[in-house]
Symmetry: C2
Subunit: 302 residues, 2 copies
């Protein structure tokens, strides 16, 4: 594929730093620049030697970019699009990695009238509960899907962004932005919220019991805490930006959970067994399509 001359990553956390590493490793560009409002993050990137140059302010860059990837919490998009609209002076492809797409598109179209910027919204479905550039790695996107939700016709731009994600190991899927937000509410935003909530319930137990819950977390609870280890601000923004779909799916979940509760109260073991068997089948399907990841129940020794 055609290389990019110079790429700017905005937000050098886990995802941004992983993209930097992957683009270099796969020879998509030789020049990766990083912008992050946190001086410590930029310092870490320098120590890790993963950037051509890192800055905490956009205006400190005295060059232009042909690709810009936004990897910041959703609440920062409006300001970022505003700053970019002033900064960009040549044709520039812009994409992002945000977990909601309706809000992203709205933020872009409300803000920018800079004709040099072409925005193709992306959502690479890949991640880890860790935060910070020190946890990023180039293979994070391997064998994962990237959903694109283009909102205006521009085949050239769409192709270049698709090729970029493919070159770092992703499979491309197109989706309408509103459908994306509903699907992701169910596959991502609701599981995450429930994980936070279960872990929250445990923290509010009497202190003696709280300690025991942590101690015996290998019994299942720890799977929820893995998700709950994710970045608080990033997730706060997701629930703000995808409110309607999240509340709808949360309503469905609560209704379903009530039927389980009732079955337990009434001793309806057949209902429970049938439901559990159905869930087991779904797990099997996910393993069969190679999207299950792998869990090692043993501890890695340091």
């Amino acid at each position: 594929m055609k290389k990019f001359n110079s790429v700017l990553i905005i937000g050098m956390g886990l995802i941004g730093s992983s993209i930097s590493r992957a683009l270099i490793e796969n020879h998509i560009t030789n020049n990766i620049y990083g912008l992050d409002c946190d001086e410590n993050v930029i310092q870490k990137c320098k120590n890790l030697n993963i950037l051509t140059k890192g800055e905490t302010e956009l205006n400190k860059f005295d060059i232009q970019f042909d690709l810009i990837v936004i990897c910041t919490p959703l609440s920062s998009y409006k300001n970022i699009f505003n700053s970019l609209a002033e900064f960009v002076l040549q044709p520039t492809l812009v994409t992002d990695v945000g977990s909601t797409k309706m809000s992203t598109i709205k933020d872009f179209t409300n803000v920018t009238n800079n004709k040099y910027m072409t925005f193709i919204p992306s959502h690479p479905i890949a991640g880890l509960e860790k935060t910070g550039p020190e946890h990023g790695f180039s293979k994070l996107f391997n064998d994962r899907y990237c959903i694109l939700t283009p909102f205006e016709k521009n085949d050239d731009a769409l192709n270049r962004i698709s090729e970029m994600w493919k070159s770092i190991g992703m499979s491309i899927e197109m989706m309408e932005p509103d459908r994306h937000d509903r699907v992701l509410a169910m596959t991502s935003h609701i599981p995450q919220l429930i994980a936070f909530s279960v872990v929250g319930t445990a923290t509010e137990l009497e202190s003696h019991m709280r300690e025991e819950v942590i101690k015996y977390s290998a019994a299942g609870f720890r799977d929820f805490t893995r998700l709950a280890g994710s970045d608080a601000i990033m997730w706060r923004d997701v629930y703000d930006k995808n409110k309607d779909a999240v509340l709808e799916m949360l309503g469905r979940f609560s209704e379903d959970l009530s039927t389980y509760q009732k079955a337990i109260r009434n001793g309806d073991l057949e209902f429970l067994q049938n439901k559990f068997n159905q869930s087991k089948k779904i797990r099997k399907e996910i393993e069969d399509i190679g999207q299950a990841g792998s869990f090692d129940p043993t501890e890695k020794k340091n």
Copy 2:
């Protein structure tokens, strides 16, 4: 430690077969016998060569055992204790691996008046979402806790059972049976139920969306499906036997989830951010005490 002459494992699934392997590997006995009502399971054990002898009926064994470990769903305990009460003709230690302990003790004391049997209830906190002897492995218990809930004083028996679990890598903790059931409701039974329920909600979506949820499960949903891959009958029995503690903790969880729902509806981002940060701290504590396991987000290639 003093060896056992001959050990009987009742229920040769994931846990039973892992115990068999671990006891042999650590030289706790040279003679492991397996009982399972499923002929296929016994056949698999023969093919795996992990048993001295396997049978589908207790009465087919013409020897006695000095240790019997029950590794079956909780609904089978009454029948098993009844059969053992007729079978056992010499001093025999009996233990189990069941996820509830009040019901286990009740089943034992209601049934048996065979003075040769000494029962020390155990709950090794270790497992995997897979089922069947082919998935068992000897290291499953390494670095994990085993909770014992003795209900009558017998130091010798308690010591021997403790030593047996320690010899396969476990740390022993003593707990009152009712406390065990409340702690495990929170660390195990509730996360499991919620996982089943979230996966259940996804299965009931319109079929087109259901496919997409499976496809993009790497976004968080798959963590729930891992738990939901567990054995349906085993879990059905847990909710039957630990009804009160499960309903109590489920009530707490539902209340907490409602506060999140309300915060999302009202756009109370500060509440969400604070709660998420608290959950993140719990995750950190679990990692610090070495009970987090490790998740590999990449796919193992066959």
